[in-house]
Amino acid sequence: MDSHDFHKLLLSRGTFFCYSGLLSEEVLTAISSIVREQVTDIDHDEDLTTRVFGIFIEQAQNIIRYSEERLAEGGIGTVAIGHTNEGFVVEAINPMNSDNVLTLKENLNELQQMQPKDLRKAYKQRLREGPPEGSKGAGLGFIDIARKSSKFEFDFVESPELLFVLKAWIVP
């Protein structure tokens, strides 16, 4: 793929923000205000744009904490935000350890089946119980993404290293 094709691909997907490389909390500080500005510039519905922004933050922090490819204080990965007629898409890709595939798959499958009121309950329950073993945050990130998104999909891709892909749609 040459540069022109790459640019066309981004345009065709409505990608207005894409970051690929080392994500650390420092990098997130530098890019989050730009993302916030861009998202609110595209749509003036604050409830919608705050959900898009919130999902972006959770996706970025997942890469920082859990990407299998580590560098200094962060992880390597890609996070992109697109906007089309239908709404916003936030997607994240990062290398992962194959040992965690089963647990992650079960966890995300379960969240996909849940209704908004059940997600709300799950969020509160997790808050009360505290983070599960192996969590580097509050263990709420995926529940939060499921709550804030209209729908989400995930995939595990051998490329040849194992990649975790998570895509969340936010529509008005």
Binding site: E25, E26, L28, T29, S32, S33, D45, E46, D47, T50, R51, F53, G54, I57, E58, Q61, R120, Y123, K124, L127, R128, G130, P131, G137, A138, L140, G141, I143, D144, K148
Partner: protein, 119 residues
């Protein structure tokens, strides 16, 4: 105690009888942000009879949710100990996420006077 707002943290003011917080909350290091606030809150609550809290958040991330949960637990405990605790969770009328978050925290407050305020 007064903390100016940053891109990732809200403005926080704590006096002898009140605490105000306003802005966005997704700190680089949640412990570094939350521990001094919880410490100061407990210190102010100890000698007082009544304490009021006003929170006006536009966004907080999932790591900060745990901090707010602990924060409200401290306040509810003080109310159970007989202190008069009033809390205002202020949200903008268009902001459904923050309204829901306010309702989620409200469920655990029994003795403390907790109000959702639409602004």
């Amino acid at each position: 105690m007064h903390l100016e707002a940053t891109n990732r943290t809200p403005e926080v003011s704590i006096s002898e009888s009140s605490l105000e917080m306003k802005g966005e909350c997704y700190p680089e290091d949640i412990s570094a942000f939350s521990e001094p606030i919880l410490e100061s809150l407990e210190e102010k609550l100890e000698p007082c009879d009544s304490f009021s809290v006003s929170l006006e958040l536009r966004y907080f991330n999932s790591s900060s949710a745990k901090f707010f949960f602990d924060f409200f637990e401290v306040l509810e405990q003080a109310a159970e100990d007989g202190k008069s605790i009033s809390i205002e969770w202020r949200y903008r009328s268009s902001d459904n996420s923050m309204k829901e978050a306010g309702e989620d925290f409200e469920e655990d407050m029994e003795k403390a006077d907790y109000k959702l305020v639409e602004i």
